[in-house]
Symmetry: none
């Protein structure tokens, strides 16, 4: 049976959630603060996490960010204020959906079912690497919460690099990935894009994320 982790600092709300969700046939377990949420979330026990954003100390966004480093568990956000919503609709968090307070239990359960039904295919393969997040499908890139504007080519190159973390990709491989085979583009062109990409990543704080291995190729570094 799928188990759902409920995270909210308000016991009353936790209880409402618990009842609604269990009545829908899912198991539940709870966390009252960010730290506990993180610990339980990382256990892998949860098939989905209902996560309140507004919590003292470690808030939901932060918990989500941490969790995403090691897990792709679906997350459904609970939000109280409109401006919180703005912060999660972006890809930043890798949130799967959100529900505003006050919410109707019935709607909440419906959202949960929808998320679980669409199953694993978290649809868009969102690439993560350290503080760097890339969603090629939506053409979005963020570093530690700040969004970075990339051009089409930059996005393609970065996506290819990120989909093979740590691996050294030869220039021809990269060119093929971006332009398709049997296309003739100069190595200098690739370099130009790499330069722009590096510049942007550097500015956003990911210094030296793209490494050059002389005579071999390009590698996606840690992006600490």
């Amino acid at each position: 049976m799928t188990e759902i982790l409920i995270v909210d600092d308000d016991p009353a709300i936790r209880n409402v959630l618990k009842i609604a969700i269990e009545q829908a046939g899912y198991g539940t377990f709870e966390a009252a603060d960010g730290d506990a949420a993180l610990r339980l979330g990382q256990s892998g026990r949860a098939g989905l996490i209902v996560l309140d954003i507004g919590m003292p100390e470690r808030d939901g966004l932060e918990v989500c960010r941490e969790l995403r480093k090691s897990s792709d568990v679906p997350i459904l956000f609970l939000t109280a204020r409109q401006d919180e919503i703005d912060r999660i609709v972006g890809l930043e968090m890798g949130a799967d959906d959100y529900v505003s307070k006050p919410f109707s239990p019935r709607e909440l359960v419906a959202r949960i079912k929808a998320i679980l039904k669409r199953g694993q295919p978290t649809a868009d393969p969102i690439l993560r690497r350290g503080r760097l997040t890339l969603d090629p499908h939506r053409h979005l890139c963020e570093i530690g919460g700040a969004s970075v504007t990339l051009t089409a080519r930059e996005m393609e190159i970065l996506a290819k690099l990120m989909s093979h973390p740590d691996h050294v990709l030869a220039r021809p491989q990269l060119v093929d990935a971006v332009y398709g085979t049997n296309v003739n583009v100069s190595d200098r062109t690739l370099d130009s894009h790499l330069r722009n990409l590096r510049h942007k990543l550097d500015e956003a704080g990911c210094i030296d994320a793209i490494e050059t291995v002389h005579g071999v190729g390009i590698r996606m570094g840690p992006c600490a």
Copy 2:
């Protein structure tokens, strides 16, 4: 039947693991500390090892490092803290996966099945020899955890040597392996590369890892 070695200093956790794993149809046997783990692990009886990182005395990382010198048995780490996770994701350890405490037995079993199913094809052929680890695909070289920077040629030569441990390779063979046949490079050139390689390995602590057999060729020594 596949037998799984459970290593943890906490008897309670060992028991949880034992029950979960046996219920999944695997046999188990246990070790309560690093020394025992090493002894049992080297016996070759285990088809997989579940290894706790946080143990007094000889910790899991050290056990893994030792085991890797002589075995490719799959290892699933148990970790309690995030910073431990950081240390194993690198290639250094050759860990196959990890599970955070507290963990759900179900997930643990799922991970075990996944690892065993994916079988041997540990994907990238990673060369190991004593404290020396070489990953040609990632163009990474590590000695006892410290990374060593190699150039393209050095990497090729070392890879060739490591893929024939203890065998003496004639110079022509080495040259062919690196440059392809019917290429004309001076023996002095190979010597130059060997010199640089030796220098780097020495500095990193692997002294005399590359031996010369006068009149015959080059051999990859133990790299103690």
